[in-house]
C-alpha cells in the first residue's frame, strides 16, 4: 500500500530549489511516482510544510552513567504537562529527561539518529541499555579513551604504536563504539593524582606524559585503523579565559591526522577585554577554513536552566562554585575516567554567558563551509536539545538574531562580531 504526500517542499542539500511536488512511499521507502493512480493507504496534504532527511545529532549526552546521575541530581521538574505549549514551544520536563521523553521529543523535531559522545568503557553496557530504551531513535556511541591507567602506562613506557592501534581497535570492538573521543587528555587521570591543571605541553605528574603526546598517539591510531570518524577531542582547559591557545596547540599536536573538536564554543576564549574574557572565534574559524582535516561541533549556549555533564572532572571541579542550584556530583570510575555533573543557569544579562552565546553564533557564521561545522548544543551542556528550532531560527534570521543580541550585556554588544555577520543560513544549507 502506497502513501502519498502532496504539495511537499523537499529540503535536499544535494538538490536545492526542488519545486513543490508529490512524494510516494511504499513499505517505508521512497518510490517513483506511479504511472497509474495507485490505491493509497494514506494521502496527506503537506502545504506549508517541509520534508527533509531525518536529523542527526552527532554530539548529545543521552545515555550512560553521568546522564543518569544528572537525572538523579535534578528532581525539580517542570509542572508542564506533556501536551502544554509555552510560546509555541513545549518545554522539557527536565534538562535531562528520561529516555521515553527524549525519544519522543527528538522525533517531534525530525531527528532520527543520535550519538552519545562519551561512552566510558566500563559503563558502555549501561549506556547502550539506556539508549536501547530511547524509542524511535537510532543510536550509537563514541568511546572515551585517553585517561585509562593502562593506556597511559603503555604510552609512558613507549610501547609500539601498533600495540596502541590494536588496543584502540579491540576497545572499540569490545564496547561496540564507532569512534574515539578524548576528554581533557590525561587530565582526568591527573586530577586523581591531585593535579589541578594540565595544559597541552604540561606533564602528568605520575606518568610524565603530556596531553600532546596522548592526543598524537590516539589520533594516529584512529587514522591507522581507518575509522570513519576522526578523533573527537574535548580540548584541555575547558571554559578557561584564554583557552584558545590550548585549542590551537591541540590542533597542532594532531599534526597530519584528522581531528574533530567537540563543543568548540567552550574552547575558543581569549583573555582580552574589560573582563579578561573575550571571543577567539575568528582565530578558530580561520583554522577550520584553512584546513581540510579539521571539523568542529559548536556546543551553542542558549539562555535558561540546564545541567552540565562532562567527563572532565578536573574542570568541572574547578567550576563547582558556579553550580545553580548549588549541588554537584563527581564520580571517578574504574581507573578509566570520571564525570562531573553541575547544574547551570545561563543568563542573558550576564557578561560571560552572553559572550558564550555570541561566540557560538560567530563560529557558525564565520566557518565558510557548512559541512565542516555541526549544529549542537552539546545537550544538555549548552542547552537542552529541544532548543534546536530556536537555534536554527537564530542562524536563518539576522533580524531575530539581533533582537536577542540587543538584550545582552553592554560589554558583549561593544565587542562582538555578530552585528557585522549578516550571513543567513537556508534550510538547504544548514550546518549538518
Amino acid at each position: 500500500m502506497i502513501t502519498r504526500l502532496r504539495n511537499v517542499r523537499v529540503c535536499d542539500p544535494s538538490q536545492p530549489n526542488v519545486p513543490d511536488s508529490e512524494l510516494h512511499f511504499d513499505e517505508g521507502k521512497i518510490i517513483p511516482k506511479p504511472k497509474s493512480s495507485p490505491r493509497l493507504a494514506l494521502d496527506l496534504d503537506l502545504s506549508n510544510r517541509i520534508v527533509m532527511a531525518g536529523g542527526i545529532d552527532i554530539h548529545t549526552h543521552i545515555g550512560g552513567g553521568k546522564t543518569n546521575l544528572a537525572r538523579l541530581l535534578l528532581p525539580e521538574r517542570s509542572p508542564v504537562s506533556a501536551t502544554a505549549f509555552l510560546d509555541g514551544v513545549r518545554p522539557l520536563s527536565s534538562p535531562v529527561p528520561g529516555t521515553w521523553e527524549t525519544g519522543r521529543r527528538y522525533l517531534e523535531m525530525g531527528y532520527t539518529a543520535c550519538f552519545e559522545p562519551a561512552v566510558l568503557p566500563a559503563n558502555a553496557r549501561q549506556a547502550y541499555l539506556e539508549m536501547a530504551d530511547t524509542p524511535w531513535l537510532d543510536t550509537g556511541g563514541y568511546l572515551m579513551l585517553g585517561n585509562e591507567e593502562l593506556l597511559l602506562r603503555w604510552i609512558a613506557d613507549g610501547v609500539p604504536q601498533t600495540q596502541i592501534n590494536d588496543y584502540v581497535g579491540w576497545m572499540l570492538n569490545t564496547h561496540r563504539c564507532m569512534a574515539v573521543k578524548v576528554v581533557n587528555a590525561g587530565g582526568i587521570s591527573a586530577f586523581k593524582y591531585n593535579q589541578r591543571e594540565l595544559d597541552v605541553d604540561e606533564s602528568h605528574k605520575h606518568y610524565g606524559l603530556t596531553p600532546r603526546k596522548i592526543l598524537h598517539t590516539l589520533a594516529t591510531a584512529v587514522d591507522s585503523l581507518g575509522l570513519a570518524h576522526p578523533l573527537h577531542v574535548h580540548c584541555s582547559n575547558l571554559g578557561r579565559p584564554g583557552n584558545i591557545a590550548s585549542t590551537l596547540s591541540t590542533i597542532d599536536a594532531i599534526e597530519n591526522c584528522r581531528l574533530h573538536i567537540t563543543h568548540a564554543q567552550f574552547h575558543c576564549y581569549g583573555s582580552d577585554g574589560p573582563h579578561g574574557f573575550s571571543s577567539a572565534a575568528q582565530q578558530l574559524a580561520d583554522r577550520v577554513n584553512q584546513s581540510d582535516r579539521l571539523t568542529i561541533d559548536v556546543g551553542q549556549v542558549l539562555f535558561g536552566q540546564t545541567v552540565t555533564i562532562s567527563g572532565d572532572t578536573m574542570h568541572q571541579f574547578a567550576n563547582r562554585g558556579l553550580a545553580r542550584p548549588r549541588k554537584v556530583i563527581f564520580n571517578e570510575m574504574e581507573c578509566q575516567a570520571g564525570c562531573g555533573v553541575l547544574p547551570f543557569r545561563y543568563q542573558q544579562s550576564q557578561y560571560v554567558h552572553g559572550l558564550q552565546w555570541s561566540i557560538g553564533l560567530e563560529l557558525f557564521l564565520l566557518v565558510e563551509d557548512a559541512s565542516k561545522i555541526f549544529l549542537t548544543t552539546d545537550h544538555p551542556n549548552g542547552a537542552p536539545f529541544t532548543s534546536y528550532p530556536h537555534l536554527i531560527r537564530l542562524l536563518m534570521d539576522y533580524d531575530f538574531r539581533m533582537s536577542v543580541f540587543s538584550e545582552l550585556h553592554p560589554d558583549v554588544k561593544a565587542t562582538s562580531l555578530l552585528p557585522s555577520l549578516k550571513r543567513e543560513y537556508t534550510l538547504e544549507r544548514l550546518p549538518r
Binding site: E101, Q126, Y128, D133, L172, E332
Partner: protein, 468 residues
C-alpha cells in the same frame, strides 16, 4: 568467568573449577558481551575486527587488561552468603515443583480481572535485574500504578541527600587500585551483607602478575605500574568485632579499628580534621594524622545499615566532609547499595525519577520521594515481584495480591501466585554492581535445576492487557 549475584558486589568466579586460583575482575572489559545493543540491531557502529593484527594483538590486550584487574582472592565457593543461597534455592526448587502448572491460564485470567477492577494499584517487591525492572515499569505505565521497592528507604537516604547537595564518589576498582586509606564505616553487618568486600579490597598480591612475558616490554614493570599494590591502611570506624577486624587483617596488611557511635561519625570526622586542640591520646588525633598522610582517601559504607530516622542528614553530612577534603587533597565515598540499586537506575533513566513513581497519563509520572505509606494504605491491589526469592521480607498487605516469584509467600486469602525463575540463577540477566556504575551479566548458575517456569518479565508482559 561467571558472575555471582547473591550480593551486589557481583564477584566473578570460575564456573567449572571453582579453583582456589580463581581471579576476579573489577571492570573495564565488562561490556564485551553487552546484550540488546541497539547499535548492533540497527547496524550502527560496531567494528568487526578493526585491525588486521587484531587477533594477535588481542591476546596481549587480554593479558594487559587482566593484569590491571586481577585480584587475589579465595575460592568464591568459600563465600558464606553464596553457599547459603545455593542451598536455599535448591530446597525451594522442591517446593515450587509441586505447583500445578495446568492452572496457569486460569490464574492469569483472574489476575487480569483483578487489575481491571482495581483503582489504586501498587507494585512492590525486590527486583534485581534490568530485564525485570523494564517489565515492571512498562506494566506500571500501562495500568497507571504506583511503584516502590521493598528496601527503597535505605536507597532514599542517599537519594534525598544527593538531591539536596550532591556527592563525590568512586567505583570499586578506583578504590582498590588507587586508595591508600580506606575508611570502612559501619559494623560487622557490612561484611555480612558483602562477605567478600575484604577480599575485593585486598592488596596482597597472591597472584603474580608478570608483565606479559614480552621481551620487548622490559620497562613495563616500572614504578608507574598499577600492578604494584598500593600500600594501604584500612581504618574501621563504628562497632567492629575483633573477629571482623582479624578477617580484614588476614587480607590486608594495615588494619586499624576505632570504636565509634555510627550516628556521630560524620561529626567526628569534621572534628578530627578541623579541631586544633585535639589531645594526642584522642583517637580523632590519630585519625587526622592518617587522613593528612593519605593521598587518596575512600570512605565505604552501606546505606542499609543506616536504620534511623533522617539518616539522609547523616549521608549529606558525610558527603559535605568529603567535598571539603577535596579542596586540597583527594577523597571519595563509595556507598554500597543493595540489589534495589538496579531498579532505581532503570527507573531513573526511563522516567527521570529514581523510584517511588506514580504513573499518570501515558508516559507522565509524578515523584513521591518521602516514604509512601499512604499509597500502600489506599491500595486495593498489590503486585509483588520477588526476584531473589530467598527470604519472605515483604510487608503484610490487606488487599488483594498478585505474587510473582520463585517461592510461595505467607498465605493471603486473596493471593494469586505466579512461580517464576530467578534472574542470575536460572537464567542470564544484567544487574548493577553495588557501586551503582558497573552492569554485569550473570547466570545461569551451573548447578541451577532447569525448571519449566516463566521469567518474571514474561508474566509481567502478560498482565494488564484487559485494563480499560
Amino acid at each position: 568467568m561467571a558472575v555471582c549475584t547473591f550480593c551486589p558486589l557481583l564477584c566473578e568466579y570460575d564456573p567449572h573449577g571453582l579453583s582456589p586460583n580463581a581471579t576476579s575482575l573489577d571492570g573495564p572489559s565488562k561490556a564485551g558481551s553487552a546484550p540488546a545493543i541497539q547499535s548492533i540491531e540497527k547496524g550502527v557502529g560496531p567494528l568487526n575486527h578493526a585491525t588486521p593484527s587484531f587477533e594477535s594483538g588481542k591476546q596481549n590486550l587480554d593479558r594487559g587488561l587482566t593484569s590491571e584487574n586481577a585480584q587475589p582472592l579465595a575460592d568464591v565457593s568459600q563465600c558464606s552468603l553464596r553457599r547459603q543461597s545455593l542451598i536455599q534455592l535448591e530446597s525451594l526448587s522442591r517446593v515450587v515443583s509441586r505447583f500445578n502448572f495446568n492452572d496457569q491460564a486460569q490464574i492469569l485470567k483472574s489476575a487480569n480481572q483483578w487489575i481491571a477492577e482495581s483503582n489504586r494499584i501498587v507494585i512492590t517487591g525486590r527486583v534485581t535485574s534490568i530485564e525485570t525492572s523494564r517489565a515492571v515499569l512498562d506494566l506500571a505505565r500501562r495500568i497507571h500504578a504506583f511503584v516502590d521497592m521493598d528496601d527503597s528507604e535505605s536507597a532514599f537516604h542517599q537519594i534525598r541527600a544527593v538531591q539536596r547537595s550532591g556527592m563525590f564518589t568512586a567505583t570499586l576498582s578506583e578504590v582498590r587500585f588507587r586508595s591508600d586509606l580506606v575508611i570502612l564505616i559501619g559494623n560487622d553487618q557490612l561484611l555480612e551483607q558483602f562477605p567478600r568486600l575484604a577480599a575485593r579490597l585486598s592488596n596482597k598480591p597472591a597472584i603474580h602478575l608478570p608483565d606479559k612475558g614480552d621481551s620487548n616490554n622490559a620497562s613495563a614493570h616500572s614504578s608507574r605500574s598499577t600492578n604494584s599494590p598500593v600500600s594501604r591502611t584500612i581504618l574501621c570506624l563504628g562497632a567492629w568485632s575483633e573477629k571482623s577486624v582479624n578477617h580484614l587483617k588476614a587480607l590486608n596488611a594495615n588494619v586499624l579499628a576505632f570504636p565509634m557511635d555510627l550516628q556521630v561519625i560524620p561529626a567526628d570526622l569534621f572534628r578530627s580534621t578541623s579541631s586544633t586542640d585535639l589531645l594526642t591520646s584522642d583517637p580523632l588525633f590519630a585519625i587526622r594524622n592518617l587522613i593528612e598522610a593519605a593521598s587518596y582517601t575512600s570512605l565505604i559504607w552501606s546505606n542499609s545499615l543506616l536504620q534511623w530516622k533522617h539518616a539522609d542528614l547523616w549521608v549529606e553530612r558525610l558527603f559535605q566532609w568529603i567535598a571539603q577534603q577535596n579542596r586540597l587533597m583527594r577523597c571519595v565515598g563509595m556507598p554500597l547499595s543493595s540489589h534495589y540499586g538496579t531498579f532505581q537506575q532503570v527507573c531513573n533513566w526511563t522516567t527521570g525519577f529514581p523510584g517511588r513513581v506514580r504513573f499518570l497519563e501515558e508516559y507522565e509520572t509524578s515523584f513521591e520521594p518521602e516514604e509512601p505509606s499512604r499509597a500502600f494504605a489506599q491500595a486495593d491491589l498489590e503486585i509483588h515481584i520477588d526476584e531473589p526469592s530467598l527470604a519472605a521480607t515483604h510487608r503484610k498487605t490487606n488487599c488483594r495480591q498478585i505474587f510473582i516469584g520463585f517461592t510461595p509467600q505467607e498465605s493471603n486469602p486473596e493471593l494469586l501466585h505466579f512461580p517464576s525463575l530467578v534472574a542470575g540463577y536460572h537464567y542470564a540477566a544484567e544487574h548493577f554492581r553495588g557501586d551503582g556504575t558497573i552492569v554485569l551479566r550473570a547466570g545461569p548458575e551451573p548447578q541451577a535445576n532447569a525448571m519449566q517456569l516463566s521469567k518474571p518479565s514474561d508474566w509481567l508482559k502478560r498482565l494488564g492487557g484487559d485494563r480499560p
